[in-house]
Structure formats: structure tokens, C-alpha cells
Amino acid sequence: MIGYLIRRLLVAVIVTIGIAAISFALLHALSTSPARAVLGLKADFKQIADWNRTHGYDRPLIVQFFSYLGNLLQLNFGYSYKEGQSVGALFDENAGRSAYLSGASLLLALVVAIPLGIAQAVKRNSIGDYAATAVTFTLYAMPSFFLGLILIQLFALDLHIFPPLVSDNITTTWGAITHPLQLALPIVTLAAITVASFSRYMRSSALDNLAQDYIRLARAKGLSQRLVLTRHLLRNSCLPMITLVGLSIPSLLAGNLLVETLFNYQGLGLLFYNALGNEDYPILLAYTVLGGVLTVIGNLLADVALTVADPRIRID
């Protein structure tokens, strides 16, 4: 197990370096230095060139990349001149709330999708199954901002049940946790889309498992439907979900981006969005790399979790 972990970690590190390289190359192609952001509009090209020289932005790309990589290793993500803070500090401030948003919506999605998928599989081809399928397909086809928009209009502006946006007084993660009403709509928006895809997977995974003889055997033992489902079907059908959750990190991050923008929720996604508008490349680069690293870690964790959850997967 330790050997396996070390090997997986090694691969993860290589992948991470790859991610950093590709992101760096792409972003460098778009902007070579933050000189303009620092010096303002009045600066002329000579001042820009001077600044680049003194700050190392005239070095060969590969040298710049390695110094960037070196900084990354020291957890130095660069400095946003636009925001006047180091990118690391910005991440520090925002990561908790974003993680909470993602985490809560992911949890909600799982809590809804797993029973829903199983119920659909068990009651396959019933009216309920068709209805749930129709709803999930509709949700799945919906851009998250569009769904959020509809929810805001309906539940906040028309029915006044939830606030239409997250108050900016919520500046801490704890604040976000203690104001469930404020975050209800964003969490539901994110979760709804995730539920749509998760429940489809869950349904087909449950269907696959339902067709297995061990379910029949469980019934033949005299177990009630409830026990068959909870004791035998649930765990086995959930196994693919572990991988799926690991794989869903990029789309969760993307969802955060859209939902945070829509609901005025200060988080990493919003930071990224603002950086896009400001062309604040240090933030764009750092968040892209961070997203990649999170994905790698997510997949790694999923794999490890799967080896724990699924006895069939043996690790030498």
C-alpha cells in the first residue's frame, strides 16, 4: 500500500509539473508580463521594457518557467498587482468558502442522487423513472447560470423565500456555514446539475448490479427489499461514484465559477472571473494550476478510496 501510494504520488507529481508547464505556456502566450498593470497606462514601452528587465520577465521562457516552478514548490503562487495581494493570500482568503460551496453541493448532490438513482433502477421504466429521467436530463442540459437565474427569479424575487444573493457580510467560511438560508440557492443550483449527472450514473450502476445474481441470491435468502437494497446493492452501486466524484472536480470548479459570479459569493471562482476581466494573469495561471492539482489530488484520493471500499482492487 505504501509503495503503491508512493508510486501514485510520483505520477501525480509528474502530471502536476505537466499541468504547470502547459498552463504556463498558454498563459505566457497571452501575456508576457504584468508590467502594464504595475506601471499604468501612461508608461511607455521603454518603461515597460525596463520593468521587465528588472523583474526578470525578459529571460528565456524556459528559465522563467523553472523559476515559476521553484516558486510553486515554495507555495509561492505569484503576486497580483491588480489586487495588491499575493495570490497565495487571495487563495487563503477565498479557498474556504469555495470549498464549502463545492463540498456542500457535492454532499447534497450525493445525498439526493444515490437514493434517486437506486429508486429509478429499482422502479425501472415506471412513470416515476420516466419523470425522474426527464427532470435529470433537463437539469443536465441546463447551463448552471440559467438554472440559477430561474431559481433567483422564482424563489428570491417572486416568492421571497431565499435571498437572491449572498450577503457580502459573509466573509468567512464559518459565516457561510452558519447562514444556510443565504447559501441555499447557490448550493442547490450547483447540486442540481451535479445530481443530474450523478443520478444517471447511479441509475445505470444500480441497474448493472441489480442484474447480478448476488442480488437474486440476497432475495433468495429471504431478505426484504429494503435490506437487499441497503445491505447489498447500495455499496456496490456506489463504487463507481467514488471515481466519478474524483473526476467531477473540474466541473465542480467550473460550476463554482459560474455560480459564485451569479450569486455574489466571494470565492475562488469569482476571483478567477474578475481576474479574467482584469487580465490578471498571475491569478489565472495560479488558479488553473491549482485546479489541475486539485483534480489530480481528487483522482488520487478517489483511487485510494476505491481500493479501500472495493476489496477486489488489490494493491501490491
Binding site: 425501472r124 437474486r216 441470491l217
Partner: protein, 679 residues
């Protein structure tokens, strides 16, 4: 049948349908089954005839859309049809238990087996976890799971197929049911393991006194194990009789055909097997009269119109046929050879060997690592096999699953490369060839695969499939190619309109015919047939066997027939090689192997094969072979069979036995053979 006390299981006039979107499967029709306490009832029939549905009907576990239309099911006098679901649950696993066919998918992969075995006991006996686990231990011991203490926490995938099946049985037994339905409990297992499992079941029946319904498609399995046999065809019971009686004097033509279509070890290999033409009927639209009529050689107009009732003069022997037969078929046809001389006439060709396999070794590396695939171990699939095949001769290869038969076959046709050793065709080393000449050489080596569904490209029409070898080899003009295709299609007995069809539109037997035609297309010198009939139903199997036998002769080619079924191999081959864990342990003529086996493994193999002969089956005493096949990654030292050999001694672990001669053409590799070696 007028006992006062209730039978353990009494099913009468049971009809079960399965509703599909636009059709209804008449899976079980007006079936009567009665099993007394302590009795074993054999239920035989081909795939799809409704055996499983019958079992599931009894348990009330029919698949979606399944419904009992009419009839009654009584267990110890208690009616089950119409019972509420909670009541039914009390019956399941408690009074009636079932063992499923596929031990691989029948156990929950993520639960330790101890828990799974304990589960019914906890449920029905309201036992505590501890009590239930104790009980699990008890039954696991009962079914002969070695060292059950250590295994309670194991997961199903950590057990071999045979052990898993034992666990399944333990689950069924944990509440000591009155009725056990064993649905093909051994179909997926090797013969050696099958024998072990069957004897476990037998022992248990005696000890627990339960009624058993043993479902199988193998006449041999029921012969020795059951008191009575029911033969099922297309959802009906067509004949029921005490076992001896059925085998000696069956009345239904279907039973007769079923019996006659199995190659037997003592079969006259010159005679054809009995075949049943055509396919079983589609149960969504069964024929109105006798369901067997469309395939029955004796069918009359009456048969097609009126369904015969299940009757008989003797109340213990009932059958449903208007034109019953009397016992097994007596006169069997000779193999028809149309153009070529008979096999036996050409067997004695002198001179050099057509195909020589010299000490070939093939090991598959076991790798690990995402990018750099490091080799961490190797599967010893074939370890130093030496063989030869002469022109026109058929060599059979038998052995348990995983012993390297397929690998050897692939080595012969050159799709696998040996790690060492050589293969020569007509004196020319195959693997020394390159490019064009290699392609040319491939013409002479063709292969037929085990799974007829997997070996034909599903995206190609039959015409393209058959033409492909000719196109690749650049043989003939288009016209000549088409001529040959039509000729061979006729020879394998397929209609011309097959050419425009896709493989999935054919039945298994038909696909195997296509595969055979394709293999013959290039008129190879050697054809390797890997388990050509394993995937086929009994009645279809004999069709293909007959066909192969005839074509072998007609085309005067040498062939290597691979199978785990000694009877099949013996029927088709002139000589037989027995393989064990990558080694050739014995080689000889059919009779050498069958009557004068020198190697204990060969002997055990022969003795474990279930024979469709109740008397001889009953006479078998103990299980001939213990344990399971060791891992080919770390095969035992010395003689690889020693771990399961009753005669093994220290020498066997130390030194590998060489092949020694036991007569002309008869060799075996054993330190302590069953007969003295020739000197």
C-alpha cells in the same frame, strides 16, 4: 403418487409467463414436479428451456414482468402461490434455498463471505452476529471449505470458482432448508472441481435429508446423483422417470436425442453422433402442438396440431409424445466422407512430421507501473511442450481451464511467439519467416476459436468474413473466390442467403459453422480448433462435432483439437495430449489415454468425467482428485501435479519427471506411473 404425507415440494400445473414490451415469453408451461423428502430430482434440458424460471417461480423471484399464470406450488404441504411477500420471505432461504449457476456474480463482491453465509441465519433465526458467524463456520466446514476459520473474512474474489460454489452452497444450507434448488451448480466449473462439488451436495443431502432439485443440462451430472429425472423442453416437462429407467428406456424422442448427442468415452469414433436438427422454439411464440415437433424426426400431422399430454402406463414414468421411442437409439450412422479417404487410412503416413513443436515455452509477463511497465512476475502458460502432428492426423489436447491449451494453440498458428523453443511446419521454422513468406506460411495454419460470437467481426457480412482470408492471401480471382465461398458454405451446411447477413443473425452453431468455413477457406495443412463446441448447446454441439469430423476427413488436413472435455477430444482425435499447468503430462492414442492411462492426472480426469450412465456413475466411490489448480505464476517445483496427486512422494517435489514411453506412441511424465514404463 398417492402418498398421504406431503411431498417436500409439489408443483402442479405451473405456468409462468414473462411479459416483455411487446411479447410474452411462455417460459414455463403446465409443469408438474414432485420431490419427496430426501429425494434428488434431476432437471435436464437445453439452455433457455425454462429450468431457471421454474426454480425462480418456486421462490417467487421471477424477473421483472414474470408472473405465475396458474398452478400451485406446495412446500411441505404449504401453498406458496398467492402468499404475501412477507410470508414468502420467511420461506426463502429458510425452507427453500437456491444455488445459482454463476458463482462469480452470485456473491456480493464487497462483503466478506462469513457475513454472507451468516446472513440468512441471522435473518430467519434472529441470531446474534456471533451466533450467526459460528453457524457460518459450521456450514462452511460442512461444505468442505478448507480452513474456514481463516476464510471468514475473505472476499469472494479471493476464492477460486470451486470454493465460491462451496460458499454458495453453505449460504443455501445455513438454515437447513427442506428444499434445495441447485440451478446448474457446476456448469461453470472444471470437471475435477465439478466432481468435488457434486459429492459435497450428495453428502449433504444424506446428512440433512433435504429434497434437492438438481438443475443441469448435462445428462452425465444427473445420472449418478438423482433419484428421478425430469426432462424439460421449451417450457414443458416432456418426460419424467426414475433415473435408471430414463437412461435405459426413455420414451421421448427428445430424451433419446439428448442422450445420443453426447460423445461418450467409449464411443465408437467412426460413428456419427445423434443430432437434433434446427433450434429450440422461440418461447414468445411456441408452436401450437408438440413443441418438439418441428425438430422431431417422427413428427406427424397430429404432433403439429395437438399437444401430447404427460402420461404413461407406469405412473412413475410419464412422457408426452404421440410417437414414443423405446430406449436409446441403436443404429448410429457412420461418418459420411464424400471425397477423401477415411482418417484411419491416412493415419499411418510415414516420413517426416507435418508440424513439430519443440520444447516451446511461453510466459506472460505480469507488469506493473503506469508508464514504465516493469515486469514483476510471469504466468507460466506453456512450459516446455514437445509435440508433433502428422499430415491428416488429429491431435487432441485436454486439460483443466488455465493449463495453457489455448496458448499452445496460438503458438501453433503463430499469433503468439514462443519465448523459447521452435515450431516447424513442413521442416520450415515458422518464426524464422518474415513478411511475405510469413504471410504465405500462415495460409497453412488456421484456427477456430472457442467463442463463436467473439471470433467473427460483428461489423462484417458473412460474405466479407469468408472472403477475407482469400483477399489477405491474394488467392484467386473474384470469381474463384466467390465459387469457393459458396462451395464451402454448402459444405458447412448453411443456406446461400447467409452471405448477406451479419454474424449476430446466426445461432451459435451456425456461427461456429461460419468460423469453420473461414478456417477451411485457405485449405490449410493444419487447423487448430480451440474448444470448438464448448459454448454450444448439447443438441447443437453434436451437429458441429459431426460436421468437423466429416470435414477433417474430406479435406485431408491435420488438426489440433483443444477442449477441456475429454470425451469431445477423444471423439475427434487420433492422438491425445493431456496438459497440466503448462506441461504435457501424457500423450497417446485415444485408447492409451482412456484405457491405459499412465499418469495419475489422466486417470483422475477420466474418473471425474460424469457419464450418462447411472450404474457406472453410482459406482464411483470417492472424488478422484483433490484441491484446485495451483497458480501458474508460481507452479509447484518438480512435478507440477504433485500437490494434488495421491501418489506423490518427495522425489516428485525435487525432480521434474521426464516423458517416458509406455508403449508405441504412448508417453507420460510421472515418477510413479499407474503402469510400468516400457523399457
Amino acid at each position: 403418487m398417492s402418498t398421504n404425507n406431503a411431498a417436500a415440494l409439489e408443483v402442479s400445473n405451473l405456468t409462468t409467463h414473462i411479459q416483455l414490451t411487446s411479447s410474452v415469453v411462455h417460459a414455463v408451461g403446465n409443469v408438474d414436479v414432485r420431490i419427496e423428502v430426501g429425494e434428488t430430482l434431476g432437471l435436464v434440458g437445453e439452455s433457455g428451456c425454462g429450468k431457471s424460471m421454474l426454480g425462480l417461480s418456486i421462490l417467487g423471484l421471477l424477473p421483472g414482468g414474470g408472473r405465475i399464470i396458474e398452478g400451485s406450488i406446495q412446500v411441505s404441504g404449504r401453498e406458496l402461490v398467492g402468499l404475501s411477500e412477507p410470508r414468502m420471505r420467511e420461506i426463502r432461504g429458510n425452507e427453500v434455498a437456491m444455488i445459482f449457476q454463476d458463482s462469480h456474480s452470485s456473491l456480493n463482491p464487497t462483503k466478506p463471505i462469513g457475513e454472507q453465509v451468516a446472513e440468512p441465519f441471522r435473518l430467519h433465526r434472529r441470531a446474534s452476529k456471533k451466533e450467526a458467524l459460528d453457524r457460518a463456520l459450521e456450514v462452511l466446514e460442512l461444505v468442505g471449505l478448507p480452513r474456514p476459520h481463516e476464510r471468514l473474512g475473505d472476499f469472494p474474489h479471493q476464492l477460486s470458482g470451486g470454493l465460491r460454489q462451496r460458499v454458495m452452497i453453505a449460504i443455501a444450507l445455513s438454515c437447513e432448508p427442506n428444499v434445495l434448488i441447485a440451478d446448474e451448480p457446476t456448469t461453470a466449473l472444471d470437471v475435477t472441481i465439478q466432481a468435488q462439488i457434486l459429492s459435497v451436495l450428495d453428502g449433504l443431502k444424506e446428512r440433512l435429508g433435504m429434497a434437492t432439485m438438481l438443475v443441469t443440462h448435462d445428462m452425465g451430472v444427473v445420472a449418478g446423483r438423482s433419484d428421478r429425472v425430469n426432462v424439460m423442453y421449451a417450457g414443458r416437462i416432456v418426460e419424467t422417470a426414475p433415473t435408471e429407467r430414463l437412461f435405459s428406456s426413455m420414451r421421448h424422442p427428445y430424451t433419446q436425442a439428448l442422450f445420443g448427442s453426447i460423445p461418450k468415452l467409449d464411443q465408437d469414433t467412426a460413428k456419427a453422433l445423434v443430432t437434433v436438427p434446427g433450434l429450440p422454439p422461440d418461447l414468445t411464440n411456441p408452436p401450437p402442438g408438440c413443441r418438439f415437433a418441428p425438430r422431431c424426426p417422427r413428427a406427424s400431422a397430429k404432433c403439429i396440431e395437438h399437444e401430447p399430454p404427460l402420461t404413461g402406463d407406469d405412473p412413475t414414468h410419464l412422457f408426452s409424445c404421440w410417437h414414443p421411442v423405446e430406449g436409446p437409439a441403436t443404429r448410429l450412422a457412420d461418418i459420411e466422407v464424400r471425397h477423401a479417404p477415411r482418417v484411419s487410412e491416412r493415419a499411418a503416413t510415414n516420413g517426416h512430421h507435418l508440424l513439430r513443436i519443440d520444447d516451446v515455452v511461453r510466459e506472460y509477463p505480469v507488469t506493473s507501473g503506469a508508464v514504465l511497465q516493469r515486469k514483476v512476475a510471469s504466468v507460466k502458460a506453456v512450459s516446455g511442450v514437445t509435440l508433433h502432428v502428422d499430415a491428416g492426423e488429429t491431435l487432441g489436447l485436454v486439460g483443466e481451464s488455465g493449463c495453457g491449451k489455448t496458448t499452445l494453440g496460438k503458438l501453433i498458428v503463430g499469433v503468439e511467439k514462443p519465448d523459447s523453443g521452435g515450431i516447424e511446419l513442413d521442416g520450415q521454422a515458422v518464426f524464422a519467416l518474415r513478411g511475405r513468406s510469413l504471410r504465405r506460411a500462415r495460409r497453412d495454419l488456421q484456427m477456430m476459436f472457442q467463442d463463436p460470437y467473439a471470433s467473427l467481426d460483428p461489423r462484417m457480412r458473412v460474405h466479407a468474413i469468408l472472403r477475407e482470408p482469400l483477399t489477405i492471401q491474394g488467392v484467386g480471382t473474384r470469381r474463384e473466390q466467390d465459387e469457393r465461398i459458396t462451395r464451402l458454405l454448402g459444405e458447412v451446411g448453411l443456406p446461400l442467403n447467409s452471405l448477406e447477413r451479419y454474424p449476430h443473425e446466426f445461432s451459435g452453431g451456425q456461427r461456429q459453422r461460419i468460423a469453420l468455413a473461414r478456417a477451411l477457406m485457405l485449405e490449410p495443412k493444419v487447423i487448430v480448433a480451440d474448444e470448438p463446441v464448448s459454448a454450444l448447446d448439447v443438441s447443437i454441439r453434436s451437429q458441429v462435432l459431426n460436421l468437423m469430423k466429416r470435414l477433417q476427413a474430406e479435406h485431408a488436413m491435420a488438426s489440433v483439437v483443444i477442449s477441456h472435455d475429454l470425451a469431445v477430444v477423444k471423439y475427434l482425435s487420433d492422438r491425445i495430449g493431456v496438459m497440466y499447468l503448462g506441461k504435457l503430462v501424457e500423450l497417446g492414442s485415444g485408447d492409451d489415454i482412456y484405457r491405459r492411462a499412465a499418469h495419475p492426472y489422466t486417470d483422475a480426469l477420466i474418473r471425474t468425467i460424469p457419464l450418462p450412465d447411472p450404474a457406472r456413475e453410482r459406482a464411483k466411490q470417492e472424488v478422484a482428485i483433490r484441491g484446485e489448480l495451483p497458480s501458474p505464476v508460481n507452479p509447484p517445483s518438480g512435478c507440477r501435479f504433485r500437490t494434488r496427486c495421491p501418489r506423490a512422494q518427495e522425489l516428485c517435489a525435487e525432480r521434474e519427471p521426464p516423458l517416458r514411453s509406455f508403449g508405441p506412441g504412448h508417453e507420460a511424465a510421472c515418477h510413479f506411473p499407474l503402469q510400468p514404463a516400457a523399457t
